[in-house]
Every structure is written in structure tokens, then in C-alpha cells.
Symmetry: C2
Subunit: 384 residues, 2 copies
């Protein structure tokens, strides 16, 4: 039975990923420091639906399903001895690394947000790399990066590497990055470390530069109410799509920042898990730093707002679109053409953002008993 | 009087830089945590000639010269409140940031070396950026990077940015980086942060991607014996050139790692100071992330060994060149063509590595009373 260590297994993506692999016969161990929950408290926000404590959701899984999940509470960034012990004793065949501070606004709120993000994300990655080198040099690391590392260059975005011809000579080099926040910069730093560790130590890594994920349902979350995953609609940990859905469902204007021409890659939670599974089942070679762009569709923020408005209209809600000043520093109208063929070649079958999918998310949002409207406002600004 | 804050002003480059600016009428404040001295103790190495404590070298300067240097002992990475206080009270017009762990082998010795390097270098840079944003948004940051960030790509190395044409479209993007150690990776992470801070906050930065510096004399170090700067010949903090010089002067074989085809940029300490001065006197624009490649000549390690051998022969020493296995993971024969025209356009007049310069360094090395031969051996290996 292939052993999978899931770092950050209590998170929005980590938890359904853990259940998926357990459900498909892998031996799964979750590691989490529960820092995300702590950061939520600090920022004064909560997911739309209450999430059971990790102990309870794992107990629920282990009663509901055949293949149990193991859990270890440990901070991979601050406690490297715990990381070493885990790698030594569990001896994973593959590691899925989600254990990072995931919010751009959190990283931009102040110095502490930026330093916390770097300290957690980059130190965690360093500790994982040293643990792999020491105890599992043959293991495969699947690391979650972000499409936001690339920013919005005026050329096609390739998958991690770029063939460059310059002054008559050629090389294949890491794709240039233009991160849009300290969070995105921390992911760029991670990628630099991973590429070096592959080249210098011969370990194997797949860096998944993921787009914005939507959706909260997987076959496993539906097995029991306590197995749900988190849905953040707040301005710190939520996504634009989630905010739009909650606004439409609660008869609030859908708030678009700036011109709304900001274009990004998107994918369904089900496809995130599909992609991670494809990476795990088709590992990178020894010494290979493999990068996949992990998204299925591209939309501008305005297109997304319009899609939510249309889906809401279909079930009787007449939402308006309202333009707010953009709290971020980013281009609001730009070229955007990102490649995503590698995962399709491995077999990815995209689940697209249909009206049906949006209506399903809207109907879930309608069930929410307690929406905190204050957290929808963007309070964190990139510039003073 | 222009106010210059020199972070890492106790170091090999920081100290002569501080004296230069004080000698030329700038108001200079040094900040240093003396961590480099602590790391030397931990690694069991010392500079070739004893260096007075910082208090004494500053007292000596303030007695010898007309324009005094102020000093503050503070850890810019771990004590951001001290950094904020400094920026608020001294209110520098420009900041020269040398305060980083400067050794690739130190960063590769183990997990602690890698984490210490990242924690010190990247967190220090973050604290400086936030202090600038808060207290001196108009100031100019001159940050020391390294040519080693680029690695050895198969195309010309441009100065920080690259015009890329790809699939019929064009953009000017950050030059791709291939760092050769966790130290070099930390400098790449710094560059990512600096570029983002310029773009996101509008601050102005000059990133000096410096080659390997040699030489220990400047007009100011010659003013008094206690004003000397450090000369490291050990395998942790020393450079290949310094090692070769000490080996030749002490009738030891000159040890080249691997084929010796590793080619790098080099410059004289006098030119480092000349370049930093040019950057300070011709600041980057608001919001500009300006990168200069700071070196004057390129040599392979074998060419360098041969130069030292020849210079030593000229003063009666018959040194042999010995090949040792390469402790690093790096290409030993490769294309290398790095551009360095920007600083020349600003007025840099290079002082090249002549036989006279080498003989001068050799003669200084001959005066050393206590050479620790054990520290010449490369004990830190990139691969297990």
C-alpha cells in the first residue's frame, strides 16, 4: 500500500485530498499544526459552515470509511525534529505539501503578515527538503504552488520552464516570475528552493502551480455531514467566486475590484484532487523539477461576476454588479494566456464551471445560517 | 549632508564602505549584529589577521578621521522594532544593505545552516522594506546581491532583466535564476521581494549582483593598522582566490576543485566601493527595481590558480596546482558571458587583477603569523 504524507491535511484542499487517497486504498497520514484555524481567529473570520475539529472529522472518517487516516499534530516549519521523526517512522512514498499560509491579503496586512507567511511557508519547505534528503531520498514531493507566481506577463505562460533564445543561443530556464503579494513571493521562493534541491540533491518534485479553486463537494465529503470541507467567503481567506456567490445568495451587490479585467486560471476542487492524484500516480523522475499549471479554464473577474449573476438569476435572485476601488496593486486589463496541457496529457478530464455547478454552490450558500457581512469588505490594501 | 545607513557595516565590505562614505563627507551610521563573528567562532575559523572589535575600529576611525561614524548594534532580522526606531530617528537618504549571511558552504552545511541563512537574509530584507515603507518611502535602497543568483545559463547573462520574445509576443521580465546553494537561493528570494516592493509600493532599489571580491586595501584601511578589513582564506567564508594566495605563500599546493572550468565574475574591493558609491550618487527612480552586474573581469578557477601561481613565481615561490574532488554540485565546463556595462556607463573605472595586485596580496599573506592549514580543506559537501 503506497504511503502518502499530507502536510496541511486539515485545510480546504488537504482534507478532501486525504479522504480521496484513503478511499482509493492509499495509506494516508495527515500532518497539520492547525495554524490556519488560528489565523482565522486572529483575522476574525470563519468558514461559511462550521468545520468540526480535526480529531472529530478524522474519527468520523475512520468510522464511515474502510481505510483509516492517521493524524499527527505538528508544525512543520517550527519543529523540524517532529518532521524528521515523521519521515523516519512513516517513511512516505510521496508527500503532498499543502502546509502553507494561503492568503495574499494576510501576507499584505502588515510586516507580521509578511514575515509569518515567509517564515511558515519557506521554512516549512526547507524542513521537508532536508527530511526527504535524510530519510526518504527516493520519495516524490508534490508541492502546491500557484499560478499567481507568474503574475501577468505579456507573453504566454508556460509550465514552469521556458525555452529562451537570446543573442543566438538557447537554454531552457525557470519561467520568470512576477508575484503579486508577499504570499505569492513566498511561493516563488519555494519554487527556487525546490528546483535547487532537485538539481543539487537529485530528489524528485512536482510543483503544481494551481489556479483559483472553487467548489466544496467531492464524493468523500458527501459521505457524512461532518466530512465537509471549508468554504471561505471573507476578504482574507476567501476567493472572488465565493464572495460573489454569498453576495448573490444574500441579495447583496456582487463586488468587483477595479475594471474586472484581471484574468486568472480556475478549477473545481474535484479537479484539484484529480490533478494531485495524477501527479502522485505518475511521479517526477529522480532529480526532476517538474512543474504543471493546474487549472482548467481562464476567466476575468468580470466574466466570473457575470456568470454568478446569471446563475443566480436562474434561481430567482437579481444580483447587481458593483465596482469597488481595487485594494491590490495589479493590472486590471492585460494579456493572459497560460498553458495547461501537461496534466491533460496525463489524463485530466476537466469538470468545467457550468451554470449547474454554480447553482449548486449558490444553493449550498443559501443554507448558511450565519453570514458575517462585514468580512466581505476588502480592508487590507496593498498600498498605504 | 546625505545620510547613509550601512547595514552589516562590520563586515569585509561594510567596514571599508562605511569609512569611504565618512571620508567623502556623508553622514554614516553602521548597524551590525556581529553575527558574522559569531558564525566564524561556530565554524572554528578566523580571518588571516585579527580584526579589532567593532567598538575599537570605530573609535580608531573617529580619532583618525574628521567625519565620525555612528554605530548601532542591532539584529535587523530578529528585532524589527530596532530597525523601525533606526529608520525613524536616523531617517537615512540611502541604505546600503550588506547584512546577510554571505557563505554558500555555511548555507549547505546542514539544515540549520540553510534555515539560518534564509531566516537572517530574507527576514532582514523584509524588515528593511517595511521600515522604508513606513518611515523613509523616498529613500534609496542599495542591496548587495550576487552574480551567483544567475548560475551558469547557456545564454548571455543580462543585468537583472531580460527582453524575451516568445510565440510572437514580447516582454521585459526578471532574468531567470539558477542559484547554486541555499545562500544563493536566499539572495534570489531577496531579489523577488525587492522587485515586488518596487512594483507594489513604489520604493526605489538598486540590486548589485556582485562577483567575487578580492583585495583588502582601500585608501581608508591604510590610514591606521586598526582600520584593516577581514581576509578570509578558510573553506567556509573565504574565496578561491584568497585560498590560492595563502596556499602559494605557505608553500602548499594550490587546490582547484574539479576541472577548474567554473567561470565567474571578479572585482577589486576598491571597485566594490566605487560601484556602491556610483549607485548611491545616481539613485534608482521611484518604483524602479534597478539591477547592476557588479564585476570587472571574468576568469575560470583554473585561470585564477594559474595567475596566482605566476605571481608567486615572480617573488620566488614555486607553487603547484592540485586538483581536488569538487565538493559542490556545479558545472565545471560551461558557457559564461555576463554583461556589466551599466556601472561602466555610470563612470566605473575598473582596477583589474594585475600581477602587481596579486603580488601585493601575496606579500600581505606572507606577513600572517598564524595560518590554520586545517581550514583550507573543503569539509562541506553539497551532496551527502
Amino acid at each position: 500500500m503506497k504511503k502518502i504524507l499530507i502536510l496541511g491535511g486539515d485545510g480546504y484542499l488537504g482534507w478532501p485530498t486525504a479522504m480521496h487517497f484513503a478511499n482509493h486504498g492509499y495509506q494516508v497520514m495527515i500532518v497539520d499544526a492547525l495554524l490556519k484555524r488560528q489565523w482565522e481567529e486572529r483575522m476574525g473570520v470563519r468558514p461559511l459552515f462550521p468545520i468540526p475539529v480535526l480529531r472529530r472529522r478524522v474519527e468520523c472518517w475512520n468510522k464511515t470509511a474502510k481505510n483509516p487516516i492517521q493524524v499527527k499534530i505538528a508544525d512543520i516549519a517550527q519543529n523540524h525534529l517532529a518532521v524528521y521523526e515523521l519521515f523516519k517512522e512513516f517513511s512516505p512514498d510521496a508527500i503532498i505539501h499543502y502546509a502553507e499560509q494561503p492568503s495574499a491579503p494576510f501576507s499584505m496586512k502588515d510586516r507580521n503578515g509578511a514575515v509569518t507567511t515567509f517564515d511558515n511557508n519557506v521554512k516549512g519547505t526547507l524542513n521537508v527538503l532536508f527530511a526527504m534528503r535524510e530519510f526518504t531520498p527516493e520519495a516524490h514531493l508534490v508541492k502546491l504552488g500557484t499560478m499567481g507566481e507568474y503574475g501577468t506577463p505579456n507573453i504566454d505562460i508556460e509550465e514552469g520552464w521556458l525555452e529562451i533564445t537570446h543573442n543566438g543561443r538557447k537554454d531552457r530556464l525557470p519561467y520568470p516570475k512576477l508575484p503579486g503579494s508577499f504570499y505569492h513571493a513566498s511561493k516563488v521562493a519555494d519554487s527556487v528552493l525546490l528546483e535547487f534541491a532537485c538539481r543539487g540533491w537529485g530528489i524528485s518534485v512536482t510543483d503544481l502551480n494551481q489556479g483559483v479553486v472553487y467548489g466544496i463537494e467531492t464524493p468523500e465529503t458527501k459521505m457524512h455531514p461532518d466530512l465537509l470541507t471549508s468554504f471561505h467567503y471573507d476578504a482574507v481567506f476567501g476567493t472572488a467566486l465565493n464572495r460573489f456567490v454569498v453576495q448573490a445568495a444574500k441579495n447583496q451587490p456582487i463586488t468587483v475590484y477595479g475594471e474586472g479585467g484581471q484574468t486568472r486560471g480556475f478549477l473545481n476542487l474535484i479537479d484539484t484532487i484529480q490533478c494531485v492524484r495524477l501527479a502522485i500516480d505518475n511521479p517526477a523522475k529522480s532529480g526532476e523539477f517538474r512543474v504543471f499549471n493546474q487549472f482548467t479554464e481562464m476567466f476575468s473577474v468580470m466574466q466570473l461576476a457575470q456568470k454568478v449573476k446569471d446563475a443566480a438569476k436562474g434561481i430567482g435572485f437579481d444580483a447587481q454588479i458593483e465596482i469597488l476601488p481595487n485594494p491590490r496593486v495589479e493590472k486590471e486589463a492585460h494579456f493572459y494566456n497560460a498553458k495547461n496541457s501537461a496534466l491533460k496529457l496525463l489524463g485530466l478530464k476537466p469538470n468545467l464551471l457550468s451554470e449547474e455547478v454554480l447553482v449548486n454552490i449558490l444553493q449550498r450558500a443559501l443554507l448558511a445560517e450565519d453570514v458575517d457581512h462585514a468580512v466581505l469588505r476588502p480592508e487590507i490594501r496593498w498600498r498605504k
